[in-house]
Subunit: 328 residues, 2 copies
């Protein structure tokens, strides 16, 4: 389907997990360029807990040495950095939330046409906005001691062709992982070979990374408990706890048992961002590779269970979220 | 000398100029992570003047649509973006100044050794700091209507081998240029094949870009008038106005006539950043390619003459700065 020119780098250390930080989970959706600081900090704390071995016993020293983070510019206490805390291999990808959407929708970056001044300006404005969020996410993770490096897909040379990924340089991501860092990618404005430019979503990035770097599991952190059979704001909405994906790509709900065992995808199953339909179909493609996908509310006891990988064997009854897995 | 695996992309439109914004010119050097807002704005204004045809007659609409720049998130006035202002092809590279140096020197990122926690943390902290500055430079240029896109060398896949450039993906830079954007690169922390990591300086980036993308001319914007025969703070310091580079790489001062016609490079010729020796040798390599190099004080009448390319034929007597050219 895709015409890819990307390499297929092999990692020295196997990739444990790709985490999506949903835009709605880490920003205040209806407030232009406002970060949900409390949620982002909680997400960073949970990631530290699951990624850095022994991190619960002692505080991991921070890696954001900027003035804004209270640095005087005089000296760093090197003694805090004696102990090597081995972190397992994660990739973080975040959405845009209230960053980037305004700039992209006002100018129509997703529809292309870079020869039009408004689109060109919107492309610049969108990248400024999403880069601002990326820097804040990297900062938040670094403050908790996670060795995070921002990697903009545009800068990495990712481009599309008719909205499919045409070129995606994974070697920088792989090198960063192999050097013990956590690459932090994001939904971005990129060049498109057919229409000039478009928006490359975080979900498409995750699918591409999962296909090529084969993580143990993938976690989508969102602002609702998971995938429901209808909008979660409706009173009778039922959380779909387990979805099985078959070899032919079709999928069905395993838990809970539903009357017609099918969710009407056209309008019924979505979250408030309206993106759940894309999310399930992207997740199903990942699950078909044999990679478990967990969709769960960020900054909860359920999200930490998903992030730790404990769900791989069996989904406990008291876990709230949606697991999407290959049924063979 | 270098073992390069980089491609050699050809540009659709010839590259007019590579501009270096010296760290000392756009930041307050002794004040951690403080931008010299007035200088940066003046630099952006001058770049708009020389790059966008007809920009003196009407205000070019801005491209930073962020909340911090006064956007409400309600709507953009699309009518402001009707007219296509054709910008000529420029690349901007900036130094770090008071961003990045503190983090890099405290941890020894330039000496390598990523297996040491302090170096790993310093690598993360340095990239956060220089990315912060890069975003501010892109914002400042975008506010003046320049279609600027931040491109971090690390993200672009640049790496070194024993401090020489080992890999430098120029295709993203070339594609951005061909799509009418201004790539904005910067000195960055990068991976090194021999010592694990190092600092890749803006000057080395410029030399590499000049060798492969062959601009008409290169301008270094600094915080002093140019290259002097001794520290410019000394009373008898003489500004070297023209330096001729010969085929064998040696160089001599053409204007003004000096007594021994040689500057003692070991300690004599430098600016306050201590980096002028590197700057001349990097500039000489560029000049040897037949590309004029102008070193000039930022945000002055002299810098705009250098940026416009008017000096290519002849250096007027009233121009203050240092021109470094190939003498054949």
């Amino acid at each position: 389907m895709e015409q890819q020119r990307s390499e297929h780098p092999s990692l020295v250390k196997p990739l444990r997990c790709i985490v999506k930080l949903g835009g709605a989970a880490i920003t205040c959706k209806n407030d232009l360029e406002k970060i949900n600081e409390a949620h982002l900090e909680m997400v960073a704390t949970q990631l530290t807990q699951v990624m850095i071995s022994g991190s619960s016993s002692s505080k991991v020293p921070g890696m954001d040495w900027s003035k804004r983070n209270g640095m005087s510019g005089i000296s760093i206490n090197v003694e805090n950095y004696q102990e090597l805390s081995e972190s397992s291999s994660f990739i973080v990808v975040h959405g845009a939330g209230s960053f980037g959407h305004f700039q992209a929708s006002q100018s129509g970056v997703h529809k292309g046409g870079l020869e039009r001044p408004i689109v060109k300006a919107g492309f610049v404005a969108t990248r400024i906005s999403v880069s601002t969020l990326n820097l804040e996410v990297v900062r938040a993770l670094a403050r908790e001691g996670l060795p995070s490096l921002g990697l903009s897909p545009f800068s990495c040379g990712w481009s599309t062709r008719g909205k499919n990924i045409a070129s995606a340089n994974l070697s920088t991501v792989a090198k960063a992982l192999d050097s013990g860092f956590i690459p932090v990618l994001h939904g971005d404005a990129v060049l498109d070979e057919l229409q000039g430019c478009t928006i490359l979503s975080g979900d498409v990035i995750i699918r591409h990374l999962a296909e090529h770097l084969e993580p143990d599991y993938v976690v989508f952190l969102t602002d609702v408990s998971g995938v429901y059979d209808r909008p979660p704001t409706e009173p009778d909405a039922v959380l779909l706890k387990e979805i099985a994906v078959r070899e032919d790509g079709s999928w069905s709900v395993v838990k809970p048992p539903l009357e017609d065992n099918h969710v009407k995808m056209t309008a019924a199953a979505h979250d408030t961002t309206g993106g759940m339909e894309t999310k399930i179909s992207e997740a199903a493609i990942i699950a078909k590779l044999g990679i478990d996908v967990y969709i769960v509310q960020a900054a909860t006891t359920h999200s930490i269970r998903a992030l730790s990988g404990d769900l791989k064997g069996n989904i406990p009854d008291d876990w709230l979220g949606t697991a999407i897995r290959f049924a063979g």
